[in-house]
């Protein structure tokens, strides 16, 4: 049976799959379709979003301590990790690892303010075990679909600016991504280029995080960067604002 063109049937089967009334052979067949049909998976996700909150109608019950003990043992969770051997505070390390988790970041297609708020909350949670503030400002640059495409972090203590591209959008060999700070007066300042178009470690100056900076932007430029020192020559691909997290 082909259900691709039958939208009403797809909705109904997805709903009954999530509810649980789709059983036996019909359920297995549906799971087979799910594996090959991303749009159908999305319909299922939507139905999970609608129906699974029913779970919260249950009265809470405190589980015995043995449950956490079992989880801790199975996952070999070290008690309260301190700074790792490299001297990098744990959360800065996870931020770095997390930036590699492309799907995750792209999924967080919230306004950059909300993303930064999430980071701020997490940073605050980790404060007791982090002796030195490292990243103090974060900007999530969004593409024109409002998807997180690039993350910029600023470490004022080390005067370092780190840029990571999250999107998979390929950049032609003869092109370069260039990062700009746009001032409130609308004047662009180049902060540097991304040599491999994936990531860059740049020097942090007041050009990048000064009070007059309104916006960060990434433009697509000829290899080596914009020939015009006063601003981008190519299209602006991503934009975002700084949010202080410390």
């Amino acid at each position: 049976m082909n259900i691709r063109d039958n939208q009403a049937l797809r909705e109904r089967l997805a709903a009954e799959y999530v509810l649980g009334t789709l059983k036996g052979g019909a359920r297995r067949r549906f799971e087979g379709w799910l594996q090959r049909d991303a749009a159908l998976r999305r319909v299922v996700d939507e139905w999970q979003g609608r129906l699974v909150p029913m779970a919260e109608f249950s009265a809470p019950a405190t589980p015995p301590p043995s449950v956490w003990a079992g989880i801790e043992q199975r996952l070999r969770l070290a008690p309260a990790p301190e700074d790792d051997a490299a001297g990098v505070p744990g959360w800065a390390a996870w931020l770095a690892r997390l930036s590699d988790s492309l799907a995750f970041w792209r999924g967080l297609s919230l306004a950059s303010g909300a993303v930064a708020a999430i980071l701020a909350v997490t940073v605050a949670l980790r404060l007791p075990t982090v002796p030195v503030a490292v990243v103090d400002q974060v900007a999530t640059l969004l593409d024109d679909q409002s998807q997180a495409a690039l993350v910029v972090t600023a470490d004022t203590a080390k005067r370092a600016l780190a840029v990571r591209v999250l999107s998979d959008t390929p950049v032609a060999d003869d092109k370069t991504l260039q990062l700009w700070a746009i001032t409130k007066a609308g004047k662009p300042r180049s902060l540097g280029i991304l040599p491999d178009n994936r990531r860059a470690a740049l020097a942090l100056t007041s050009d990048a995080i000064g009070e007059d900076v309104a916006l960060l932007a990434v433009s697509l430029e000829p290899k080596g960067g914009s020939p015009d020192p006063n601003g981008p020559t190519g299209p602006v691909l991503y934009k975002g604002t700084w949010v202080k997290v410390m």
Partner: protein, 208 residues
């Protein structure tokens, strides 16, 4: 942000999202805070599905092990944190339920619609929703669950019961029909219509 991270209820999606993010980064401390914030709710849910404490404990443990492993795959765009975590625990609980087969007595599923009946009462008496007796407040429901509760309260009692039986006890149409002593065709139609109504109602943001 509160001084005590454990003082915020589990229903704050931004905070749970932050904890899931940190869990994805292998932050064991954040994972523990996440467990403390959500385990009672998720255990209550697992208990409702499995009805035996030792099985619910197993589902909860399996669920949190999976949450640790798959936190990086959580997509904030697709699901609220609590919905995602409840889905993980639900899948573990249903695995256990199906594995157990006859171990769970499916012949006598208790009717556990007290919450929904209370919700209906509130929705039938507008103005009462702000009172401290609001069942949604008592259960500290997330906004998604509140919207669903309001929409479900608008379904007819037996229709709602059919949906709830199927969801919480993994029953088929014919099993729901047996529980309610009704023809299976009737139950099928009710469930289908109820799902349509819920979709429409939730898309509107709640009952008018």
């Amino acid at each position: 942000m509160p001084d005590d991270p454990q003082s915020t209820p589990y229903s704050d999606p931004l905070r749970l999202g932050a904890l899931l993010l940190a869990t994805a980064g292998r932050d064991a401390h954040a994972f523990r805070v996440l467990y403390d914030a959500t385990s009672a709710k998720l255990f209550g849910y697992a208990l409702r599905i499995l009805r035996k404490r030792e099985l619910a404990e197993e589902a909860l443990q399996e669920g949190f092990v999976a949450i640790w492993h798959h936190a990086a795959g959580y997509n904030g765009h697709l699901a609220a944190p609590m919905t995602w975590m409840a889905t993980v625990v639900r899948n573990k609980a249903l695995d256990i339920l199906r594995r157990g087969g006859a171990a769970i007595d499916g012949d006598a599923v208790p009717y556990d619609g007290d919450f929904m009946d209370a919700m209906q009462e509130v929705s039938d008496h507008p103005g009462g929703s702000a009172s401290p007796a609001d069942p949604a407040d008592q259960l500290q429901l997330s906004s998604d669950a509140r919207a669903l509760a309001r929409c479900m309260a608008r379904l007819e009692g037996l229709h709602r019961q059919a949906v709830g039986l199927a969801f919480f006890h993994d029953l088929s149409h014919s099993e729901v029909a047996r529980q309610l002593a009704l023809p299976v065709g009737t139950v099928k139609t009710w469930i289908r219509r109820s799902l349509d109504k819920l979709k429409t109602c939730l898309a509107r943001g709640g009952p008018e």
